[in-house]
């Protein structure tokens, strides 16, 4: 199934940011992050995540139309 590129890019961006901020090595709590910055990134992520399935649906509908 061919998906719209923008959706793929969005999902890829979510997955990337999730990995860089939440996964990866930390050594005994030496992570120091600007909390405000993280919260902003997360607000953006939630919006993106919420829209993934909606976008998916729209992509399918468009695929059906053409």
């Amino acid at each position: 199934m061919t998906r719209d590129l923008p959706l793929e890019q969005r999902v890829t961006l979510i997955e990337l940011v999730d990995r860089v901020l939440n996964k990866g090595v930390v050594l005994s709590g030496d992570i120091t992050l600007s909390v405000a910055g993280v919260d902003l990134v997360y607000v953006g992520l939630r919006v993106l995540l919420a829209s993934v399935s909606t976008l998916e649906q729209q992509a399918l509908e468009r695929a059906g139309v053409h």
Binding site: G24, V38, V41
Partner: protein
Amino acid sequence: LIYVYGFLAAPAGVPELSGLDDAPVEPLELAGLTVAVSRLEGGAPEATEDGVLCHARVVEELTQTADAVLPARFGLVFPDEVGLRRAVDEHAGELRRGLERVRGCVELGLRVLMPETDGRPAVTADGGEYLRSRLRETTERDRLARDVDDVLVGLARDHVRSSPPSGEVLLTAAYLLPEGSVEQFRRALRKLEWSHPQLDLICTGPWPPYSFAASPTPTLAEAR
């Protein structure tokens, strides 16, 4: 400040790169490991989109030249080399084991989505019937997620489920695969798409093995 991008099995070269704040990325040899770092003049970096993407780009470049890289989480900083050395010494065994685990491997991410079904009875219908119906639905969703996961886990060296199912998302998982197995994994995914047309399988990667880096403290999300 010393900012860490990742840990490599020594001896490993680090390609010429500019990292956060345009500072060069340098290798530091510590405890038998190579640590890829930048020396930052200002304070700790903020988690902006540019910063996160820069970190990701440096880690990606490191994996192009080394066959074992453990990515650091964004924001891993130390006041000086002494502080970094102390932390690396303390975790050297764990880091070395982590590097062996991911050697020659990449990570693929998967989200399994299922659009909500329409035939759900209204809450105002018979309460018992409503609950039984929801239970059947949950069981069915678990079974579908397991169907997919079981096939893919069989192909992976390691795997991790990163968050519980919620809403339309049945499964969020990451699989650690030897680079030579990526094509086989993708073929298996295509088969699953055929056999489970009600599901959307969104696969991303290959990624550096972020999800398989040793991580002794809880993630930000878990700490919330």
